[in-house]
Symmetry: C2
Amino acid sequence: MKIFSLEEINKLDKRYRTNLINCLSGLKGLNLIGTRNKAGQTNLAIFNSVIHLGAHPPLMGFIQRPNSVDRHTLENIQETSFFTINSVTEEIHKQAHQTAARYERSESEFGETSLESVSLDDFHAPFVAKSPLKIGLECVDIIPIPANGTQLVVGEVKLIQLDEKFLKEDGFLSLHDQNIVGGTGIDSYLSTKEIARYSYAKPDSPIEIITN
Amino acid sequence: MKIFSLEEINKLDKRYRTNLINCLSGLKGLNLIGTRNKAGQTNLAIFNSVIHLGAHPPLMGFIQRPNSVDRHTLENIQETSFFTINSVTEEIHKQAHQTAARYERSESEFGETSLESVSLDDFHAPFVAKSPLKIGLECVDIIPIPANGTQLVVGEVKLIQLDEKFLKEDGFLSLHDQNIVGGTGIDSYLSTKEIARYSYAKPDSPIEIITN
């Protein structure tokens, strides 16, 4: 087993360090964030930092990096408040990866990557037609993280479109059955298989497998 | 396809809503966070909200829920500043799930779940012996998220122990080859398989598969 100290980490080659540190947090969810500015120009970008913040009210967040050359996603959210989070399946994962390219402001990643957009219920921001799980959110806060100049963008869920076939009786939505992918680091895409769902852990009783 | 509006989401049964909203962010990393208070009492808890915040300086964060009956992890971090993030493999995933049980303050989840602890380089907080990826961090910030009273705990990576066998030439650390699991929602555990790693996306050239 190898040990890296902070001193050693800071001496690593930049690209090596970026790859390594990005792998530490474990498996990541991958999502496409869709926005539209006031002039109607759409933007779509892949993020590996979307997190659950709470169920009541339903809140989700993502991390916006500082000094990112392309901050069209954040700019559009600041201008309009709305954004969408769209799942990435095996079918569209290469197109999703391609949205990370630095397109010009006037180019939409929807067109450039041939990912069709779709509107739902007059929601301002565009959804990805092929994503089986589509979430419309309104930004409620943008919180600075002073340690490195990143920001946590917080959104309240306003709308969810999903395929009922994968929704269990207790509200659990099976993502692996829909071929929704995950990732490691900044460039690895993963498919998943369920091991099991387990009952709520209690101090003095064994956990049980949930079947449904 | 089914659409839920915010109004419908807020009317859902609490447990159903918790399950559904927790599934929206996609695949999650699962990690065990280890702490030790000043009196030497250790604590270990599973979290599905650990995120990468930045590579230089190396920063990671996790979300602490409000009003959580058990906030031993946060209390210990506030008291000592140090915590560890430990990967969850298929081998130990049931024990990791069991750490979520509400043990008394005087009971350590290490002992209660038979997950052996280990010390590294005199680091204050304990590591999980069986985790192949062990990270020691010092808390540098605790940021309130006013929208729901959660907090983002920010830590700087001080130490990494990993198995070199899974470290690629470019710094990428393969987690799937180490049977490190992920999750969906609050209770589903997933194994993963790599589809591919892809080259950095550029506007006018096709992405390529990285092999190493």
